[in-house]
Symmetry: C2
């Protein structure tokens, strides 16, 4: 029978990622076919594994069943195991954020903490090529800009020390099932029908089959396009970081040259600066960024732009600056609260930084 | 009843395109609803129109019916009319090229010649927002790189003097039908089921309705993404043109610095140089460009790359150069034909340029 396609591809990405054979590795196992196959193939390579499982408590008994399954998998092989647990639904409700986004954040924090506790530099997850294609399509459908179309990254830095990698990103679901079948692996079936997972299931079972009637190689076509877009974004990332560095004056950004910039750079530079200042881009839409662009380029236009979460970007003397409205209101008296002045903003920045 | 949404949007794009109200304009009319509505709305604006129609002879009597319809439309309004005619199917067979591509080329040549004969600087066509969305999806399905996803350009230079514009690119098919209905316009229905048109019909009638069940605003999402990609490509076009200019040494390209370039630039620079040297990129695939990239970056790799149409790119002393094999074989004796030398290539370039 020989090794499976999954094992062959895992070996190749292992080499590409330059993971040392002796390095301790955190493997994230949900109990589904992809991560179970990854776990099995890593065991066969003789990797030094520590198993991590996060119970999002999203499917009651079924979630607990998954947890028990993974516990048995790890202890059966005498491996270290860390299990995390949190009510993702409650956290999402409390913060009024997207369920999948909260789940992902919780999982990443948990995986990072587990890696740090185990002194591991690598966390591996079981995302496959099918996940990749489905992600690209979902982002395309959702209206994400080109930045999002590139899909899932093969490697992601969780912090300065720990990297999360997806060594199965070149492996198809078919490869996974063939591997499970060859080695008679038992795995858990995810019956979830959470709204976001539900969309993904429809992408998988309705949309992709229709797309393949137009072009049987549409998966490859999307992957190729995503790869090219990732190259473009990598180029822009470096170019724009330099641009923002050059235009920064402390917390504010000198935008006097921005009207003459190509839009591809200008748009990204403003977003990048905003992300750095605000910490993230949560709930910031294309329309907000459009207003910000007008603020930066039209000296005749409005003097400020409101952003979600009581943020405001003000323009003065060719510079823009981000101000938190709550801070401003607390610092100056009521009558002035609607038009904060620079010194106030300066104080707020300072306070924020010290936190 | 007031003016229609189509008329309102036409007025806006007219202003954006800065078309003089007195300029003579060529309007391309197929006889279908889009171009008939465009023609009608332009008449209502009092534009100075000359009608152009190209008969591709693809649908026998129906094509002739379209031609008669457009003839009647123009003569009924006492307008100048030019009708072109060619067997597109035969031309495609003879040149073994894609039918739609040949049809487009014939149409553009015809429209340019008509504009020149009439001393017109503008050619207007009836492409709508629906055409735009369908084009983006078709290119996505076909595996076109990001360069193609941007979709149809609003303005295209046919030569240094004549520009082709699509003033209805913001108009939906619904707007077109509402306009036709308000003014009780008669138009022709295209019953064609050419393979490429057939795909487009399936995109329109099967794929788009399914996509809209995922996101009712998927049209806008795709258009937004296409607009952002167009901005990116415009930036790359300018940056890469400069890069190629700097690396050119006559017909050859100095690629010694190419290994250190970001891939987004390198890939486009090689394609741009090849397009300039070869005149076009017909039948050049992503795989060919991949080989060319390896030739340009790996000094240890192969010394040449074969391209369709008996072309070859050779690398020597850190430069690459395009050579036409038929020319090479004709110039030097048989034994040498498989490894042409630089002086031969130089001669070929000179001969080619003089043509």
């Amino acid at each position: 029978m020989g090794i499976t396609a999954l094992e062959r591809k895992l070996r190749a990405s292992w080499r590409r990622l330059q993971i040392s054979p002796l390095a301790p590795i955190i493997v994230a196992v949900s109990g589904g076919p992809d991560s179970t196959a990854l776990f099995d193939a890593l065991m066969r390579r003789g990797a030094r594994l520590h198993v991590a499982h996060f119970n999002h408590e999203l499917r009651g008994d079924e979630s607990d069943g998954d947890e028990s399954f993974v516990r048995a998998l790890a202890t059966g092989r005498d491996l270290g195991l860390t299990v995390g647990r949190a009510s993702t639904a409650e956290a999402a409700r409390r913060t009024r954020r997207n369920l999948e986004a909260v789940a992902r954040e919780q999982r990443y924090q948990f995986l990072l903490a587990t890696a740090q506790a185990q002194g591991a530099q690598w966390v591996l997850t079981g995302h496959t090529r099918d996940d990749q294609v489905e992600t690209i399509l979902q982002r395309l459908l959702r209206g994400t800009g080109p930045e999002g179309w590139r899909g899932i990254h093969e490697v992601l830095a969780l912090d300065d020390e720990v990297r999360l990698a997806r060594p199965l990103l070149g492996v198809t679901r078919e490869d996974v099932l063939a591997h499970c079948s060859q080695y008679r692996l038992v795995f858990r079936q995810d019956t979830s029908n959470l709204s976001d997972r539900f969309t993904r299931n429809r992408v998988r079972n309705e949309l992709l089959p229709l797309l393949r009637t137009f072009n049987p190689r549409v998966d490859q076509a999307l992957l190729r396009a995503a790869r090219l877009l990732a190259e473009d974004e990598e180029y822009f990332r470096v170019t724009v970081a330099e641009l923002v560095r050059g235009a920064r004056e402390g917390a504010s950004l000198d935008v006097r040259g921005f009207a003459a910039l190509p839009r591809a750079l200008r748009r990204r530079a403003l977003r990048q600066w905003l992300r750095e200042e605000r910490g993230d881009l949560l709930r910031v839409t294309g329309a907000h960024l459009g207003s910000l662009e007008r603020l930066a380029t039209e000296s005749e236009g409005g003097r400020y732009v409101e952003l979600p979460g009581h943020w405001r970007v003000e323009r003065r003397a060719g510079r823009i600056r981000l101000i938190h409205q709550a801070d401003a209101a607390a610092t100056i008296d009521g009558a002035e609260a609607s038009k904060p002045t620079w010194p106030v903003a300066e104080e707020n920045r300072e306070r924020k930084r010290k936190k």
